[in-house]
Point group: C2
Chain length 240, copies 2
């Protein structure tokens, strides 16, 4: 099996397609200005991401998940509000930051025009820890059309549990090697690779804003390493 | 709550969107001609549907489903082959009838142009007992784009079990009354209605070919009764 045998692309969506840092930071900054509060919004934004990820990765390992990523977002924000003395934020404002904002994130500008080209050759699905509604709402906001949305919310096993990757291979009715996991994170690709997936690392150096991503260097085991989505498409033999 | 509060349309897809009768009958007829065999292909087609439905509806009630609709199709065909003395059909030909054909069914001609209009106002998802791959493959073959595919294959509870409808309402993060189940079958709509969904019956008089559908008259409890998809769209306030 090789990249030439790939029939489906499964896209991590959270950071790989959506620019959560810019969106969440803008929402926090705007809310701070409204209340005349200054904080290190860049830091708080990244903590929001780090904590919500911490609450969702591997969820479902021992018992069914009790919540989805929307709830995880809200829990992360509430803990940050307490620590950073942001009690002035109203409940509606907290909902705007933790729910409305993630459902309206912009995607990286090199993706929307590339997706339809990839879909001509491959099944292209979102395979995500995000809730269905985040994917559906952001798809609408960005004009994306997925062939299907595989949210860990329905699988009941969150990345990086192997059951999540195996469930997606089953739904796609493909050998894992015929599926290419696309992500900007080694942890996701490594887990997919351990289940037999082909893997494509797409660099998103701005995912964490000026701080930079925590693990930016692709592991050498990945089948494709690309700087941009058009670059990845070309490596897959798709004309851009 | 009323039709004006609906935010999402969940489409039964098997008979409501896809013309399984024409597709399966054509495949059976072609295979018969190849072998010089004459049978009542109309009848066998409907039995194929009836039996595959019988093997999938309510699956998962007491234990996790052991198979999906593709397997159900194949089991239905194999039983028909035995009964109708069709042993001349090769394994590849059986695969063509039971797998390739359902994955390439044409949809009713009034649907493809209506779907994008509906998507401007509503989330439009396939909510189906069919496998993910049947929905993804037929969407591609017919140029459809769904906002998401909710297959009972992932839910683990098949229609008309209430858990299936409740799972979809949960994923959509909507009150069931804000979701309109769209189908040409009372059994599906009645089950949705029992879970609080709004319901739209769209007539598909040709679904079972010349035999006609077994239950063509909409129950009076449905919120919308439409003769065509453009008709349903207009009743939802969508300009066609």
């Amino acid at each position: 099996m090789s990249v030439a045998d790939v029939k489906a692309l499964t896209f991590d969506t959270g950071g790989t397609i959506l620019d959560w840092h810019a969106g969440v930071k803008a929402a926090l900054t705007a809310m701070g200005q409204k209340h005349g509060i200054e904080r290190d919004w860049t830091h708080i934004t990244n903590e929001f991401r780090r904590r919500s990820l911490g609450k969702i990765l591997n969820l479902g390992e021992t018992e069914p998940p009790a919540y989805n990523f929307d709830v995880s977002h809200r829990m992360a924000l509430d803990s940050l509000i307490e620590e950073h003395d942001l009690g002035a934020f109203t409940d509606e404002e907290r909902h705007t930051i933790a729910y409305v904002t993630p459902h309206n994130l912009k995607c990286w500008p090199d993706f929307p025009a590339t997706l339809p080209k990839l879909r001509e050759k491959y099944m292209c699905v979102s395979f995500t820890i995000l809730s269905f509604r985040i994917i559906m709402d952001t798809a609408k906001a960005n004009g994306l059309n997925w062939d299907a949305v595989f949210s860990c919310e329905a699988i009941g096993k969150y990345k990086v549990l192997p059951e999540a990757y195996k469930a997606v291979a089953k739904y796609l009715q493909l050998d894992p090697s015929e599926i290419c996991m696309v992500a900007c994170h080694n942890f996701d690709l490594d887990a997919a690779k351990a289940c037999g997936f082909t893997t494509a690392f797409v660099k998103r150096p701005d995912e964490w804003g000026p701080e930079g991503p925590p693990d930016p260097e692709p592991n050498p085991s990945h089948d494709i390493v690309a700087g941009t989505f058009p670059d990845m498409a070309r490596q897959l033999g798709v004309t851009i």
